[in-house]
Symmetry: C2
């Protein structure tokens, strides 16, 4: 069985990438401060070994044999997909010069340190030469990977294969046209109260509540755990061990609440992958070298957003569960009714900071970044002109004057570590969430009825059977085509936002 031999080999790559993931998780949750330096070396060795195992002659020999074995299978056959995807990943990595990998890694660690200082001092000029180098190497990388349209397409291939600058431009135009008026209309009227969200919320009680909510959504604690970290994240070490984290602010409730639901959504995806795919190419991102089973970063984000926003920020969810929250925090929420609470967690106000943005203005932050990255990569925007360009777009799109670069172009960690090409995933996730959910509701009306009764299992099961279980077997658009009959389509998302926020704010657009 050549395919079994190939799977054993990729299983080792998966083991190494999962060890990388554990080293990372531990460094964020458990590691004592002294461990930093040597941990960085361990983390880097895991990536080097995974890469080495993947491109080794032995893997290619096994791949050749497996390719012969599955050559006559149908196109959708799982083994055939394994072979094709492994081949694609090996080819991808062979295209990138070892010297470029080394230089990028070296530069990333230098740039990250400078970014921290530049951000603290709000001094873009410190970071500019490093970003210049980052952009130069991103361009080198794009040239190595290859592209037919825009060099940025090659960069996105690592996170959102198939997405292009062209496809994004038309997507973004539709979003701007659809959401822009809603932002304008809601901003024109008085914002709802939300001061009570900043009362005292005991972190231990937040943690207990967060666990209850995650379990309610179907997150399986026998194959997972929830911890507190500075930045929430989900990470997995195969479907059998999928961990999530959230953050507990003593004086701000939404962070832990929606952080938990967001990460639980990611977690449900990984926990739901077909057990038969464990340790195989269909549950491993061999291009990005992550032990992730979701098909693309955007598809993954669609599930975190679906559970966080469509379920977790809905009025019905809180009609059902607000009593439990009030019982947990009687002093903070005793005088707040469910309608006020629901309005507060859906408060819309344009702001400078992406990670603090509300559902309605969030995508504008993404469009800004993709636009800027695209222009940096194709050379139509110079690094030195970045702050000015950034601030102009924020003014135009959100009507705000950026007071300094810390609240502007220095806010995100992505560029500090040399990453360019990842931002689009967030908006693709938003779009895909609404599109998929619309189909689920249409296909089986009992799903929404169950959700409305506080039973999330039928929705989870539908998503599992239609998305999660497939792991990386189908590409994102192929998956969308199978489920919804079409590729990425922003209409359901725009409709969802318009309906929700015009109703909530009593405005029309």
């Amino acid at each position: 069985m050549s395919i079994a031999a190939l799977n054993d080999r990729i299983g080792m790559v998966n083991d190494v990438l999962n060890s990388w993931a554990l080293l990372y998780w531990d460094s964020r949750t458990m590691m004592p401060p002294g461990g930093n330096d040597t941990r960085a070396k361990q983390v880097s060795t895991m990536k080097v070994l995974a890469h080495g195992l993947l491109v080794a002659d032995e893997t290619r020999r096994l791949l050749d044999a497996a390719e012969t074995e599955v050559a006559n299978r149908p196109a959708e056959d799982a083994d055939r997909r394994i072979v094709a995807q492994t081949r694609e990943a090996v080819q991808h990595h062979l295209k990138i010069p070892a010297d470029l990998i080394r230089r990028r890694a070296q530069h990333a660690s230098e740039a990250a340190a400078v970014w921290v200082k530049a951000r603290t001092d709000s001094d873009f000029s410190l970071f500019a030469p490093y970003l210049e180098k980052t952009v130069g190497m991103a361009r080198e990388l794009a040239d190595a990977i290859g592209y037919t349209g825009h060099p940025y397409d090659a960069l996105m291939y690592q996170f959102e294969p198939g997405e292009t600058v062209t496809s994004l431009r038309s997507l973004f135009a539709e979003l701007r046209a659809g959401i822009g008026p809603v932002v304008k209309a809601t901003t024109a009227v008085e914002a709802p109260r939300s001061d009570f969200l900043e009362r005292h919320y005991e972190p231990e009680k937040q943690a207990a509540f967060a666990k209850q909510i995650a379990a309610k959504l179907g997150y399986d604690f026998d194959r997972g755990r929830l911890d507190g970290t500075v930045h929430p994240f989900e990470i997995s070490f195969t479907r059998n061990d999928v961990r999530i984290t959230t953050r507990y602010y003593p004086n701000f409730l939404p962070a832990s609440l929606f952080g938990t639901m967001h990460e639980a959504g990611h977690g449900l995806y990984e926990q739901g992958i077909d057990p038969a795919y464990t340790r195989t190419t269909l549950a491993t991102d061999l291009v990005g070298l992550y032990a992730v089973g979701g098909v693309s970063f955007g598809a993954h984000e669609s599930q975190s957003r679906l559970w966080e926003n469509h379920i977790g920020r809905s009025r019905r969810f809180w009609d059902l569960h607000y009593g439990m929250l009030q019982e947990t925090f009687p002093e903070a929420l005793g005088d707040v009714d469910v309608a006020a609470f629901h309005r507060a967690i859906n408060r819309v106000r344009p702001g400078y900071i992406r990670v603090e943005a509300d559902e309605l203005t969030y995508d504008f932050h993404i469009m800004l970044r993709v636009d800027i990255e695209t222009r940096l990569v194709d050379g139509t925007l110079k690094v030195k002109d970045l702050p000015e360009a950034w601030n102009a777009v924020i003014k135009q799109e959100l009507g705000l004057d950026v007071p300094n670069d810390r609240l502007g172009c220095l806010q995100d960690i992505h560029w500090s570590s040399g990453q360019i090409g990842t931002f689009c995933n967030y908006t693709i996730g938003n779009v895909m969430a609404a599109q998929v959910l619309e189909t689920a509701r249409a296909e089986d009306p009992s799903i929404q009825a169950s959700v409305d009764a506080g039973n999330y299992a039928p929705l989870k099961d539908w998503l599992t059977n239609n998305i999660y279980v497939h792991g990386r077997r189908f590409g994102r658009d192929e998956l969308l085509q199978r489920i919804t009959g079409r590729t990425l389509d922003p209409k359901p998302y725009v409709k969802y936002l318009r309906d929700k926020y015009t109703a909530l704010y009593g405005v029309s657009v």
Copy 2:
């Protein structure tokens, strides 16, 4: 710099072994139950990769070059030791057939499952055929490693290099002669009360107290942490991150107390290794494939025993700290004075179970096991006759009739995972602890004076400078020779036990 290139290479082996260690630590402390199966694969892949990297042609090429570079350095030169030890480890691994490694790993996992059942049912006949196979493979392994005296010497080489059946026999004879009469004398008089140790002790308070004690001994929490596990252990991921665990029984205080001091002793060793040795051969057990910096299992055990027993079970320690313990547990210990407490934690009574044995009878359990393992390996004892042989020795040495195999030859986990040759380390640790401490006190009387004043830093510093800092640079006996002027010598240990227990029990021998 060929030596730098070799160090980079071994650094990767060290990274992999540390990743193995983290996968292990996590599986005992944090992992959700579902993670078991895939974790086992990840753990095994790390060992396979470490082994592969170590014996690869590339390593041997770097080794050849480094060997030339250091050829004219003095014998004790650290780089020369690195080269020699790496060479020795590579040669060792090349001697062992890949097929034997595979068969042993496969057998270990099968045997472990059967042992659990055999132990639960107290039915040795279930486990016997597996142990037979274990012994057969141990013999194969010994033949592959090679030996001049007894095949058991080859097995001990993996854990306690240089130790032989001949050297152990003379050591054991001296211990029997020296300690035997003390056991007899203390057993003849009434045992002290210890019922109050089984009162209620709130686990959270035990944990807080354990942390204070570990810190007092000098364990650095900036480079470590203490967690609760079923079985206490120490494990490190370089000297920068050295973790310990202990167990918290709500109705038995000594487990957490002495478990903590024991593991903190191991931890002090690893935390004290020369930072310059980090990730090198001098801080990696390349023969056993563990990321351990202590020079042998016995030397490591000497430090856990030194801190646990010589310090932690001394009267002076509790004269200083019993007040703090009483304040932590006023209900359980309010009516117990320090003298009674000290007698209770040093209660001597022969028992069936090694891990529950007191300081005075512990070594008899070890001598029994080494004797039995030796005879199994050289064929003078058949597996089927093991229970009878075991019970006969327990009767002869400790005067007890073993009621069943669960309390007899099925009690230890070691054989279940195929390990033979490790037990001697515990007794060697006891012997070495007393020998080293005697020298420290003689060399610098202020050390004991500080200990008596509750300041453990001078002792820790002396041990660091004389033992910990050297990592694996010197062999165990070479290290002892440098420190005490002689190799392993049981006299200080026998004297310590005789003095302590004749005084405590008011007997003479």
